[in-house]
Amino acid sequence: MSNQDNNENGNDNQTDDGPDRNEAVRVFASEFNEAKFTFKKEDKKRAAEYNLLPTGVGANRVLMMGTLMGITHIKTDNGDNYRARIVDNTGTFFAYAGQYSDATEKMSELQPDDSRTNLNQDEFKQVMIIGKAGTYEKDDNEHLVSVEPEHFIITDRDTRKKWRAETVAKTLDRLEAVENGEAPVQNKVDQLSDHFDRDGLRSDINEVIEKMEGVSGTISTNPQNAV
């Protein structure tokens, strides 16, 4: 029985990731910026690359939100690139649209005339970035993490608040798993534990919770750590 395959898959089969589309991991800037190590799940040249989050999860695609602080226009040999600086409750992250895409177009429309500027306070916009996690190397060999947006969406405060609550909950789920030794890529994260500041992340999350309505207090520490 597959007569409908022809209708739905036969002539317009253009999914972007194929059948195994990577989920968009909800992550705050402070955790994301520590995800400087990448790995592949398959030993193939074109296999998807994952950034290792300190909570023991590989993130190929992320969904992040924040307040747009500015967009920088960067001219390169490959054309116009744009870098957006976005701030969430835990820190700053960068969205870097390196190739022509719908996101690049949106970012260019927001870009004021001068090459580098901070937007006015009145113009602060809530943005959602859905895109691929990546790392790039600065001139001084320092590795930085950024997201290459597939979608750059101007949204609103309600969506931001919902995302914030969701991301707190999901981060807490991941923290609990990694501290119980049950994270999806536990071995990888254990090997690199010196590079990750999970206490810092926990303290960031506590600050976020303080600003939220409907919840209070601070997150309980892991019993293994609190002895």
Partner: protein
């Protein structure tokens, strides 16, 4: 090389063998009736006549059984049995079975001989159904669940669908649920083939066509339709979604006709897909629907910016207001 009606009639008589008493002339006339009635090729008319004969034979057999039962017992007849079969198990042509299905989509009939045509699903698979105009069966509604009794499988172009005869019954089963599922998350992508699309107008084909060319029927004059192929993502997994025309109109707040106008104004049919993307990508949605291959056929969709109580409970379960015991900031691993 096509056979004559006479040859088809002879084939039928041959197929049933000498045990069944069939008149060549009568069979020929039945085939001609079908050709006239449904405007179909002789080959298909022959199949229909053959099925009708089979069906009347089995009805005769049942009647005989019934009368025998009545003779042997005075107790009232038990309620008619409903032996549910799954769509995925269909593997024989012209087989009569019972199904519990949900109507996923109704299509515009492309011939006046068709009463209703569309897609049904039962959790195992999805298939097409066709109800001929001359049958006395209830009108089906999209999204509703029905019991099909004695629906007949029909093999055409290597694809099975369900058709009905005078011996079939359809009853509304609003209290029955076909496997459905829901998902909450963010719409993270719109896929190509969304927005204003054209479908092949050939009988029950409905393939999405590009540049007036149908894979099965060649060059055709396509008919406009509206749909969304989207991806919803809850941060842990993703689900492909299909919004049919009705759901697309509901979610987007514009009709097929208005979508056509958008395309006309922009001199570009892709504008509708762009408008859909601008509108819903990045929005939190709660959707419910019926599973079909890798898709969820959306029956119910609602944008939802409210924070889920479940999310708050997840956070509450891990926080404590007793600060003396939980000085997490000062703890070093």
């Amino acid at each position: 090389m096509s056979k004559t009606t006479t040859q088809h009639a002879a084939d039928i008589i041959n197929n049933f063998g000498s045990e069944v008493d069939l008149e060549q002339e009568q069979v020929e006339e039945s085939i001609r009736d079908k050709i006239d009635e449904y405007l179909i090729p002789a080959r298909d008319a022959k199949d229909l006549v053959e099925k009708e004969i089979k069906q009347s034979l089995s009805e005769d057999a049942e009647t005989e059984e019934e009368s025998q039962t009545k003779q042997s017992s005075d107790t009232p007849q038990p309620e008619e049995t409903f032996n549910r079969q799954l769509i995925e198990d269909i593997d024989t042509d012209a087989a009569e079975h019972d199904y519990l299905v949900e109507v996923i989509e109704l299509w515009e009939p492309t011939s006046e001989n068709i009463g209703q045509v569309g897609l049904i699903a039962d959790g195992s698979d999805v298939t097409k159904f066709t109800i001929w105009e001359n049958l006395d069966l209830p009108e089906l509604k999209e999204g509703e669940v029905y019991k099909f009794k004695n629906a007949i499988t029909n093999l055409y172009d290597e694809q099975y669908s369900l058709i009905f005869s005078n011996g079939s019954e359809i009853t509304h089963a609003p209290d029955q649920a076909v496997n459905g599922r829901g998902m909450d998350g963010v719409i993270v992508d719109i896929q190509h083939g969304s927005g204003l699309i054209k479908r092949c107008p050939e009988d029950g084909c409905t393939r999405v066509i590009r540049k007036s060319f149908c894979q099965a029927h060649g060059k055709v004059e396509g008919e406009f339709d509206l749909r969304i192929k989207a991806v919803i993502d809850n941060g842990l997994e993703t689900q492909d979604l299909i919004f049919n025309r009705e759901m697309t109109e509901q979610v987007m707040g514009f009709t097929l006709e208005e979508a056509k106008q958008q395309a006309k104004d922009a001199l570009d049919t892709d504008i509708v897909q762009d408008n859909i993307e601008d509108e819903i990508v990045g929005d939190y949605y709660k959707v419910k629907g019926t599973e079909f291959n890798q898709y969820l056929i959306v029956k119910d969709a609602e944008e939802d910016k409210a924070i889920d109580e479940e999310t708050l409970n997840t956070i509450r379960s891990r926080t404590t207001t007793n600060h003396t015991e939980s000085q997490s900031e000062s703890v070093k691993a």
